[in-house]
Amino acid sequence: MFNRRQLLAGAAALGGASLLPSLAHAKGSLVATTYPGSWEDAYRSVVAPMLKKKDDITLDLAPLFAMDQIGKAKAARGAPPFDVFLLDPGPRIVAIEGGLFDKFDPKKLSNLSKIPDGFADEYGVCVSAQVVGIAYNPKKVPKPTGWTDLLKDPWASRLGLTGFQTTFGTSSIIEISKQFGGSLTNIDPGLVELKKILPKVAAVGLPAAMPGLFQQGQCDVMYTNTQTVSTLKGKGVDIEFVKPESGAIAFYTTMHVAKGTEAVENAYKYLDLVIGKDVQAALTPEPYNFLPVNKDVPLTPDMPMKSLDEMAKYINHDWAKINPLRAAWIDKFNKEMAK
């Protein structure tokens, strides 16, 4: 039989093991990334409980912007820190080039027939679309009409700025630059103009901080996507969305299975759930306003478009051209904006 010391050691080990989560993936769990802010809110309160209920999978969400996800995955060297990516077009290309995705098999999705053709490929599946434009506080400033308004008073002194770390930030500064003679690959004219108004702008923040700054009244105008506007509205914040005269920016948002993950099956179950009718229908109305990709879920009247067919009428940026320049832009923005 055991002696007292062995029993004690055994008990300690057991106690330790039960407290210390093991290194391996717990059965029925999944780590997926999500964007901080409105996406995080929506996925935590809607998708996570549904996944638990339907497939008994615990969803852990890592709030990271697309670029940060790529960085983290690259740094992890084959042991991905999460199982599913949520990406915009630019970072998606970077990740494909970096070989960060597991080869995707759309046929594993039971809801495949419910999404438009071409929305799922060998890399991943499209789960929503985003529209980027200007948000303003109607109680504090008049309605701006286009990008150039942001650089004039009364908007300039109430403007909240953020840099190139995100798709919405990059796309918006590109559009601002275009108004001053810049182009898709030349953002310098925009930066020159922004620098001129810098002493009076209300706030310069990390992208994730912008909704909070707006909510606190630190700034009353910013560029952002429609989901953020809805989420803030749902919290009682005075905020409205404006399509700039020169056009709003639109792009698809996709999800991908990370290469090297041990939770492939759970990842497919999650993706299938996300494009399924229940999740899409729950995320479409206020306060989320996510553009649905499921054919059974109609767009709501408040959305910027009537159907996804209108995507082509919006400004679509060619990320293959932007990607190589982006790291330098991020650096430049940080330095130009530093006090």
């Binding site: 670029m67 960085g71 923040g205 990390l206 606190q216 630190q218 530093a338």
Partner: protein, 280 residues
Amino acid sequence: MRSKLAEWQLALPLGLAFAALFLAPLLLLVGVSFYNDEKITQLGVGSWSGFFGDAFNYKVIVDTLLLGLKTICTTVVIGYPLALVYMDLSPRLQKVLIFVIVMPLLLSVVVRTFAWIVVLGREGVVNSVLLGLGIISEPLKLLQTELGLVISLTQIEMPLMLLPLISVMSRVDPNLRDASAALGASRWRTLFTVILPLSMPGLVAGCLLVFASSTTAFISQTVIGGVRLIYLPLVIWQQALVVYHWPLAAVASLSLMISVMTVIAALSWIGRRSGGYVNG
């Protein structure tokens, strides 16, 4: 009965833990800094020369150290008088005051930082009071400014200043003050010629802790300071977890360590010269 050697061996487990979990990571960090590329394949001094070849980074280092020094100044200017008042209090009130000082130390830095968002925000306490009193007509901008950051850090780091200070001051013989007064010295004179020199070790120890803590206070720096005020912790974080250039992150973090340690060494040298033993 055990020999001294055996007793000394009791420290071995901790020594090994520190060697494996503290010294080895720091040495590896130094090693990683001598790679040129983010994939950590190519040895060289490229990351160091790249980092120090950029004038912007000098400004960041100087700003970081200045932030630490400014925080030291504000914590001393209002903390030292509080320590003086502490000496005159009854033991019972002393206990209450210590409690009040230690309390924020036990409170998460994140909570203390958050408190300052509520206080300094555009619609925060300071602005509503000043607007309400008609002292200002437009809300002051306090968040995302260095002033706001220094004010916040003053509170956040204050316990680190006060604890060593009070600990040393409560050992100052009260008779010395009385003697000084009896000899006709004013209270100011007594403060500068008697109390200040005697409390120097505590003051220096407090300065060390405040400096070390405020220069690495990433959350307060980013949340209160915003992204326009760039300090080394933000650079380290961005290089390590956003850009994933570990050699550059290593260079930035070693620069932080070296510059902070240099200032700390200078401070404790001053402390030793002023005749006290610094318990840092």
